[in-house]
């Protein structure tokens, strides 16, 4: 279970982060911080940096969350990562053109390179059978290599100020300025507008392009609206918060939402929500102590949401799936025990109303201990009561007597009925050989619903006996048990067939 490691690491970090280690000159090493004080200060929004981080989280959460929904559904999840590499030649050329680290020239260069990369991805996808991820990879590594070549040329040229240009474009979350935040606000509004205006078109083109075309949706136009919007969102976020945070905000919240919902609308909403929450939680976390990098904390906050959904999501979560499976197994085992009890009773022509655990064990072909355990399970589930020793050892259990409660009797009858009806159906209607139908019925008896059973009854014209000549318990048989007292010591023979 290596996947578990990410969570403990995160938890560990949160725990061990706070005793600040001491060394010289980093600001975080020479100041003391206190949880409570910092929390209050964060919530008071007194510092411009905190205000920027909070607003930035909200805006980026919204825009990346919305774009992320489509990006993840369209298998373009690594688009952010791709663009962050593909802008490098643009950055280098912007520097060459302005001959200085002029932010405007570099930003323009980066945007143009990003757009070109986007167009090339779309082109490769359109004209070849290369898959999305490979197309992204081609652009990522190809463009990046061009950038590296230009940089190695630049480093030989006489500028004297080219150091750090490959990192120059990339900001970090803690360095957000109010200009960055307003730019992010614009992008977030753009994303919201895009989603509301082209909601239907984006949905249908993402799901089924051929069909979209057939109903006259301008597929190409929609594709470029999405990709160009995305490019702009990624490049602006890149220069504000850096590569990894952009990739993470684009993917992780949307993937988390994808685990929780089956509807696109809900997915977009949840994704934006998780993005915002991750941003806020991460910023807050990194504000609590010294030397806690903000961007990575936001990433980890988003991942922890994902991990929770991955394990505990109600529908697709690992733990939920496991629980459901376990319940299922338990239920089948209970039903099999009840069926065995019924069959023992039936073998005795319903002369007795109780079953010994020994007989049950013989019927189920298990050990007495095992049968006793199963019988106890039945008792605990309220389907039976037991008369006999409390000692669960085999010697005492052998003769312990098990009485089905009315609920247990009803369920047992239903299961046997399902089983025999299905056998009859397979032999009469599907023309299976009578000796081949048992296996199949063993499985299906547990899952046949009310409607299917009614349907089978109609097809088979309310049969009384199964292919092996055994009586199929009817509704009356079920009712026979319902008026009973649960006192195991009372009358005898009331299950007797007439």
């Amino acid at each position: 279970m290596k996947v578990l490691r990410t969570i403990p690491v995160f938890v560990l970090l949160v725990f061990f982060a706070f005793p600040a280690l001491v060394h010289a000159a980093r600001i975080g090493d020479v100041t003391d911080t206190d949880w409570g004080e910092q929390t209050f200060r964060f919530l008071s929004l007194r510092d411009a940096a905190v205000r920027n981080a909070v607003l930035g989280s909200v805006f980026m959460g919204v825009s990346c969350g919305l774009f992320g929904g489509y990006v993840v559904a369209r298998r373009l999840a690594l688009f952010g990562d791709t663009l962050s590499h593909a802008v490098l030649p643009g950055v280098a050329l912007g520097f060459l053109w302005s001959r200085s680290k002029d932010p405007v020239a570099i930003f323009i260069g980066a945007t143009l390179a990003g757009l070109l990369g986007t167009v090339v991805v779309a082109w490769i996808r359109k004209t070849t059978r290369v898959k999305e991820d490979s197309a992204l990879g081609l652009v990522l590594s190809g463009f990046y290599a061009v950038g590296i070549c230009i940089l190695t040329v630049i480093q030989q040229m006489e500028f004297g100020n080219q150091s750090g240009i490959d990192k120059f474009l990339f900001g970090q979350a803690a360095a957000l300025s109010s200009e960055d935040v307003s730019l992010m606000g614009v992008v977030a509004i753009g994303a919201l507008m895009m989603v509301t205006l082209f909601n239907k078109e984006l949905l249908v083109t993402s799901f089924d392009e051929g069909f979209a075309r057939s109903v006259g949706v301008p597929v190409e136009f929609i594709r470029y609206v999405l990709l160009v919007g995305l490019t702009f969102a990624v490049v602006t976020s890149l220069q504000a918060v850096g590569v990894v945070l952009v990739s993470a905000l684009l993917i992780t919240p949307a993937a988390t939402a994808y685990l929780l919902t089956d509807r696109m609308g809900t997915l977009l909403l949840l994704s934006a929500l998780f993005g915002v929450a991750g941003g806020l939680l991460g910023s807050y976390g990194s504000f609590l102590g010294n030397n806690l990098p903000t961007g990575p904390f936001v990433v980890l906050a988003c991942t922890s949401f994902f991990a929770i959904a991955f394990f505990c999501g109600p529908k697709h979560g690992l733990a939920s799936k496991w629980l459901r499976r376990r319940n299922r197994v338990r239920q089948v085992s209970l039903e099999n025990t009840m069926k065995a009890a019924y069959q023992v009773l039936e073998a005795g022509d319903f002369a007795k109303e109780s079953v010994t655990v020994g007989a049950l064990a013989a019927r189920r072909r298990t050990s007495v201990t095992e049968a006793r355990r199963e019988a106890d399970d039945l008792v605990n589930a309220g389907f039976a009561s037991m008369l006999g020793s409390d000692d669960a050892g085999p010697r005492y259990s052998q003769d312990a007597r098990l009485f089905l409660t009315p609920a247990g009797w009803e369920r047992a009858c239903q299961i046997v009925r399902n089983h025999r009806l299905w056998e009859l159906y397979l032999t009469n209607e599907v023309r299976y050989a009578a000796d081949h139908v048992h296996e199949d019925a063993e499985k299906i008896e547990h899952v046949l619903g009310e409607t299917v059973v009614r349907h089978l009854e109609r097809i088979l014209k309310d049969p009384r006996r199964d292919p092996h000549g055994k009586v199929i318990p009817s509704l009356e048989d079920i009712e026979r048990g319902s008026g009973l007292s649960t006192n195991p010591a009372s009358a005898t023979g009331y299950f007797q067939q007439n």
Binding site: I27, Q156, N161, G164, K167, Q172, A175, S286
Partner: protein
């Protein structure tokens, strides 16, 4: 040719042991960072050709050799590099260089460990930005002149003479800088920058150095650190803070804005400026920012002008 009949791949691999070598017999000397280049060029004088791998403004962390650089290295006789892992993997390669005929020297190899700064938790991982401490940097000159002498005994007199001259010049700059910086009021001797390259500088000239980020370029600043820095700047009445040539200035700009102080200017940290470009100091003196001396003067002037 040193070939034995081993696998055919390996046969081809080493088919060539016989490089033509340089015909004129002059030693080929290759240097890495701008600081080392400046030093080696001065000591070597006209006697040797010195080829620099990293041009002005090239950050040693991010330098990538071009095909030409690779060819230069392949025929190098002597390689001078900064050492202390400043050049990352490349320093590692140089330290183990095993090709026949190539010798590599870290200029910092004889610096005593005691004079180096190291983090408390991790011994032996010294701060590599030693050129900001003139005392240490002077010792490095000896490494260069000794190495040159060893490989070119005939030039010994010249090397020793120029090395002494260089050290004298370093000393002069040190005195000048101390005088300049001592003019700063006691309470305002804080050097606030984005990353942690100025520890030696602070130690040598009595400034308290504070950075938002650590030495490693992989770190990121935190929100709390940024706010704490703003508080610090306000509390101590720091007049100016400084950006560095090789780090994105956004965070320092943000802090300056919030704390209401000015950006004192751009400091040279891991690389120097373009050789031959002259800058005029506030006292009217002209210096070449492509040399160590000019770089120091630039930094000192920027700091003093900002903080006074």
């Amino acid at each position: 040719m040193q070939l034995l009949g081993l696998g055919s791949i390996f046969t081809i691999l080493f088919f060539a042991g016989c490089d033509a070598g340089d015909s004129d017999g002059k030693l080929v000397v290759v240097t890495t960072t701008t600081h080392v280049t400046d030093m080696v060029k001065f000591v070597a004088g006209d006697r040797l050709d010195v080829i620099a791998l990293m041009g002005p403004g090239v950050d040693p962390h991010l330098y990538k050799p071009s095909a030409g650089d690779a060819a230069t290295l392949a025929k190098a006789d002597l390689i001078f590099f900064s050492g202390l892992m400043l050049e990352g993997r490349m320093a590692d390669v140089f330290a183990k260089v095993s090709r026949r005929g190539t010798k590599a020297y870290a200029v910092t190899e004889n610096v005593s460990e005691k004079s180096l700064l190291e983090p408390e938790e991790f011994e032996g991982h010294w701060d590599p930005h030693v050129w900001f401490d003139p005392a240490i940097w002077s010792k490095c000159v000896d490494v260069v002149s000794d190495a040159l002498t060893e490989n070119d005994p005939e030039g010994k007199a010249g090397y020793t003479e120029r090395a002494e001259a260089l050290k004298a010049e370093y000393l002069a700059v040190t005195h000048w800088a101390q005088a300049r910086l001592s003019g700063l009021p006691e309470g305002s001797r804080y050097l606030v920058t984005s990353h942690d390259a100025f520890n030696y500088f602070g130690r040598a000239f009595g400034l308290e150095v504070l950075a938002v980020q650590g030495i490693s370029t992989a770190t990121e600043a935190g929100l709390a650190d940024r706010v704490a820095m703003v508080d610090f700047v306000k509390k101590h009445g720091v007049k100016a803070i400084f950006v560095e040539s090789s780090v994105n200035p956004a965070i320092i700009e943000g802090i300056a804005k919030e704390a209401g102080v000015m950006i004192g200017g751009e400091l040279f940290s891991d690389a120097m400026g373009q050789p031959g470009r002259l800058e005029k100091g506030p006292d009217g003196e002209q210096y070449d920012i492509g040399t160590w001396v000019g770089m120091m003067k630039h930094n000192v002037n920027v700091i003093v002008e900002g903080l006074k």
